[in-house]
């Protein structure tokens, strides 16, 4: 039994979500990448938070659920930031091109 819990005004939340959607769609039309970033992704994060907190009732749920979601996102972050340097950086600045200067054999590499 979920028991009675306080309800947010769902329609009001929906209204603000739609407003945010409109802003995020219009943002890129200014064609400034920094603003697009904020309006598109920043707003996505805000919208996600509003849906999670209000529609999914995380705001009213026992804290363990919130903790589970936070942990999941944190681990996802670990994955992203752990992989990013490798996949994104193809130019290593510690590599020595010993083939070009014929020093491989000397260095026994």
């Amino acid at each position: 039994m979920s028991g009675a819990h306080a309800h947010p005004n769902y329609v009001k939340i929906w209204f603000w979500l739609v407003i945010l959607l409109v802003i995020s769609t219009l943002g890129p039309m200014l064609e400034i990448p920094a603003i697009t970033l904020v309006t598109a992704f920043g707003i996505a994060v805000v919208k996600a938070f509003m849906v999670a907190a209000n529609f999914m009732h995380i705001k009213f749920e026992k804290h363990i659920i919130w903790f589970m979601m936070l942990m999941s996102l944190t681990l996802l972050g670990v994955f992203f930031f752990g992989v990013a340097p490798d996949v994104m950086q193809t130019e290593g600045d510690q590599w020595i091109d010993c083939i070009a200067d014929n020093s491989c054999v000397e260095q026994r590499l």
């Binding site: 681990l75 670990v78 994955f79 752990g82 992989v83 340097p85 996949v87 290593g92 510690q94």
Partner: protein
């Protein structure tokens, strides 16, 4: 829903159920104990297949080019298929189903004091999906081109381009089978975690839960968290294979290294997913047969959390020589060496439990003790590999192979036999034969060491993995090294022969063994308070728990054990 025991919660409705038909009792059960049996037997059958593959490829290594009895000639393609599927089967279709699904299913409701899993029909569905995954894998051996041969790590482009892997449909069926197995364990995992979190008997606080249950639950949480990116990767790999996308192909803008990361982000926590259940089972067995309280319950629990958390930040130690940024490698060296600490702590706690105890050398205890010995060697050799400078030499050599067999074999095989010999009386209502058990134990443990200890030296000599015939490498085709290979193979044959003893013991005892009492080992946990085997619904009246699971040899008590559900004033 309050925690207090209400009449409705303790009264067991199970007794009102009519007798089930054969179909609904054995083929389509919802009862967790029967589903556990299904997982266990499927896992054991897959173990036979995986073991057979290891026989074939070890014979090829010992007698290269000869026709192997029961198989035929092993060419490079066949060899690759054998080693790939041996690894894949042993991890996904033996270790996980037997240790996690079978024993998790059997033990969690019983040890938590409830009548079944929270979602019995989901439980049944999980097994059905698992069975399909096993059948898909077996199917992959029979399609044109044969089974997948790209190693269990399935690195693209070898695994994604049929022209390279030479196993067009085999590769795709392999990916499909693994993906289905993942889905099955995700569903099963949700069931396990929800049951352990919610359905515990009244009075059972978090710190009263037996370590076996805790560790299986933590393992399953680790699995659920780590498998997601790999499922994403498997979808991408499958599409690369069949549709021609280029997620992992540099020519199309993709990156093969991405697969490596996706795979190992899962692959490393996965080894702890299989390790933790065995460590939990060993903890319980050691306490029972030392007649002594488990040393440092909370410490062991916290180290398990630490291991779980750390396991997510060590994965790139599998990629030290893949061309990753050396600075990243340094980070992973530190975390890898760090993770040995909590596990060592667990081992110390187990040894401390043994110290001063009244040790009973039953078969399960022998298995549990041998786990500690063998895993110690495995773990220590892992530290060598964790140092990236050393790994530059050892990567892809037999040193790595010996390391992970000294960890995986204790986890899977020793853990499996420990659990089976310990809980057999509860599962089947009869005792296994102790003498046969001990013969089987020594006949497995000694040959195991004879197979894998020499392999460290092969690795030191520079023997690389996944080569079907070392005669092609003059440095490695010396007589000494070949003698070692023959010795290892001979030991394997001996070990496999001794498994007949186990099979005989297992099946004979199931039907003709001495009838087992409720609590033959005089243990504390709740599964020993019900008849052997437990009836449908497990408990006549669902129990209330008054203490932790490890109250052995409590001063002032006549009995040297104190069941969890015995009221405090009762003697």
């Amino acid at each position: 829903m309050s925690e207090a025991a209400t009449a409705e919660q303790t009264e067991n409705h199970a007794e009102h159920h009519e007798e089930l038909s054969f179909l609904y009792k054995y083929i389509l059960p919802v009862d967790h104990k029967m589903i556990a049996m299904q997982y266990m037997f499927t896992g054991l059958i897959m173990a036979v297949i995986g073991g057979f593959f290891s026989y074939v490829f070890r014979m090829q290594l010992a007698f290269p080019g000869e026709s192997i009895p029961l198989f035929g000639i092993v060419g490079p393609g066949e060899y690759n298929m054998l080693v790939t599927n041996h690894g894949t089967i042993m991890i996904f279709w033996v270790a996980m189903p037997v240790l996690i699904a079978a024993f998790g299913n059997f033990l969690i409701p019983l040890m938590c004091g409830c009548d079944d899993m929270v979602f019995p029909r989901l439980n049944r569905l999980s097994y059905q999906i698992f069975l399909v995954s096993a059948l898909v894998l077996i199917l992959s051996f029979f399609v044109k081109g044969g089974g997948f041969g790209g190693a269990w790590t399935a690195y693209p482009p070898l695994s994604s381009v049929p022209e390279f892997s030479l196993t067009d449909w085999g590769a795709s069926l392999w990916v499909l089978a693994v993906a289905l197995e993942f889905v099955s364990f995700l569903l099963g995992g949700i069931n396990f975690v929800t049951t352990a979190m919610n359905a515990r008997a009244p009075g059972m606080k978090m710190m009263d839960i037996p370590i076996a249950v805790w560790f299986i639950v933590i393992a399953v949480i680790l699995f659920m968290a780590s498998v997601g990116p790999l499922i994403a990767g498997a979808v991408m790999l499958f599409m690369d294979q069949r549709i021609g996308t280029t997620f992992f192909l540099p020519s199309g803008g993709g990156d093969p290294l991405l697969w490596e990361h996706l795979f190992w982000f899962f692959g490393h926590p996965e080894v702890y997913v299989v390790l933790l259940p065995t460590m939990g089972i060993v903890a319980d067995i050691i306490t029972v047969f030392s007649r002594k309280k488990l040393f440092g319950y909370r410490t062991i629990l916290y180290t398990a959390f630490a291991t779980g958390g750390l396991s997510f930040v060590v994965w790139a130690h599998h990629q030290f020589v893949a061309g990753i940024d050396p600075r990243m490698a340094n980070v992973f060296v530190v975390t890898t060496v760090l993770i040995s600490i909590p596990i060592a702590e667990m081992m110390f706690s187990y040894i401390a439990t043994l110290y001063g105890g009244s040790i009973e050398y039953t078969t399960p205890m022998l298995w549990a003790l041998s786990f500690l010995v063998a895993f110690l060697i495995g773990g220590v050799t892992g530290i060598y590999l964790g140092a990236s400078a050393v790994d530059v030499y050892f990567h892809d050599s037999y040193f790595v192979l010996a390391h992970f067999h000294y960890t995986f074999f204790p986890i899977t095989i020793i853990g499996m036999f420990a659990a089976i010999t310990f809980w057999f009386p509860k599962m089947f209502g009869r005792m296994m034969n102790e003498t046969l058990g001990k013969i089987h134990f020594w006949g497995t443990f000694i040959p195991f060491n004879c197979i894998f200890l020499p392999l460290f030296f092969l690795g030191l000599a520079g023997q690389h993995r996944r080569i079907y015939n070392y005669n092609h490498f003059p440095d490695l085709a010396t007589e000494e090294l070949q003698d070692i290979r023959v010795f290892a193979t001979t030991s394997l044959i001996i070990m496999l022969l001794f498994q007949v003893v186990f099979l005989y013991n297992f099946f004979y005892s199931m039907f003709k063994g001495e009838k087992a009492p409720d609590n033959p080992w005089k243990a504390n946990t709740l599964e020993w308070t019900v008849p052997s085997p437990p009836p449908h619904g497990n408990f006549k009246t669902l129990p209330t728990v008054y203490r932790g699971a490890y109250e052995y040899s409590v001063p002032g008590r006549e009995m040297d054990y104190w069941p969890q559900n015995m009221p405090p004033d009762e003697k």
